[in-house]
Symmetry: C3
Subunit: 168 residues, 3 copies
């Protein structure tokens, strides 16, 4: 006889999977707030970074000409990494993220950079999207070493199965 | 012996949870269309308002200097509440939302304001995000009285468990 | 006695449902990459096109005055269909999508148009949102014939039940 709790037990711990598509400062803050909050209460958390979201896991701080071809290097420079992410509203040429960082520190809320470090410390699983890496000419070496693997859609679906999945 | 329907029965009614992050007129329309549509067919519906989405539940109509510090008051004014939400495309300095409101009325589709009222009438649960309130200096008093509680990530995950969750 | 696999068996194949709200080139690429990737490993995939996302299933290529009233025709023209979709960042008056198409071809990644064709070939179910069609004055005739039906929220929720659902 199979009870709900037994079925859940078979499926392992509760699971939250996030597709981090957006590279906006505020949306990445939402991704890492959800990830750390869920990990802190025992969830298994997977984040799959794709397109602009890849900015959150780049190894080099600040703008860098990542990529192979000149056009890819241009995109690498324009995207610019975690510290250069714009806000989705009121960016005002980079003033928006500065104001938010200041408001967060002033109100004792973890900043985006602190949330990323907390996620790593809490064992949140970080993955990079294979397809987006091909398009942007990025390689596994371009990312922080906490990124566990480079995945396609099929593998991500298998990982996220049986839990909640959000596209941010 | 445990059948699927019994397991579902234990879990209560079907559930839809929405994270309303965006403060765009068109995306909030999507949030409330999904919420009212689901509630109308018997779903338990939870909406968790965070960041720009908090505009949808502000008590004061129109722009107001909500917040404590001068910088927070500036954000409060810039965000401006439900009636001042921009569209995510073709906003044209506020012309976009006006055109949409006009097209909705003309074609007998519920406007955003009507959808919000319908959601309240249908018993959709409204929650505000604690972290975003800290950053923006907002207090429970700043929201409409239908907002049931101020929540963190862990509580929201518990509420949304076993249903579908969408990040808008 | 009811095992987990038997319960899954009753529910049919694994399911992925996507709400394609955004009409951005990069987000639609994400929608169709997820859809084709999931369909290729045996998932049942449903895409529900609404608002700007309706651009992905318009029958006419390029800009066309779709809609009934003059205002709707203006929106139909401004939205412009799949080939005119902007990127959510670095659009630069249409240069962004061209660069991405070029980078995709150069790096042997399927372009958006190829992904749409693959999705149709793989039997991904395409649906249009009734409410958005009313607002924009669109009719079933305006869409490609692969669009199976025009749905409201309640029917979409029933279709997506028991699987993963993403709002893009």
């Amino acid at each position: 006889m199979e009870t709900l709790s037994e079925i859940q037990a078979k499926g392992g711990p509760k699971k939250l999977s996030l597709i981090a598509f957006s590279g906006d400062f505020d949306k990445l803050t939402a991704v890492f707030t959800l990830a750390t909050g869920a990990a802190a209460v025992g969830y298994e958390v997977n984040i799959f970074f794709t397109f602009w979201g890849l900015d959150a896991i780049k190894r080099k701080e600040g703008r860098a000409f990542l990529g192979k071809s000149p056009m890819q290097k241009l995109f690498g420079f324009l995207m610019g990494g975690l510290r250069c992410t714009p806000t989705s509203r009121f960016n005002l040429f980079g003033l928006g993220p500065r104001l938010f960082r200041w408001l967060m520190r002033k109100n004792q809320v973890a900043t985006l950079e602190e949330l990323v470090e907390a996620a790593k410390a809490l064992g949140v699983h970080l993955y990079a999207c294979e397809m987006a890496m091909h398009v942007l000419g990025l390689q596994a070496d371009d990312f922080v070493h906490e990124v566990e693997d480079v995945l396609g859609v099929a593998t991500f679906l298998r990982l996220s199965e049986g839990g909640q999945t959000l596209f941010v």
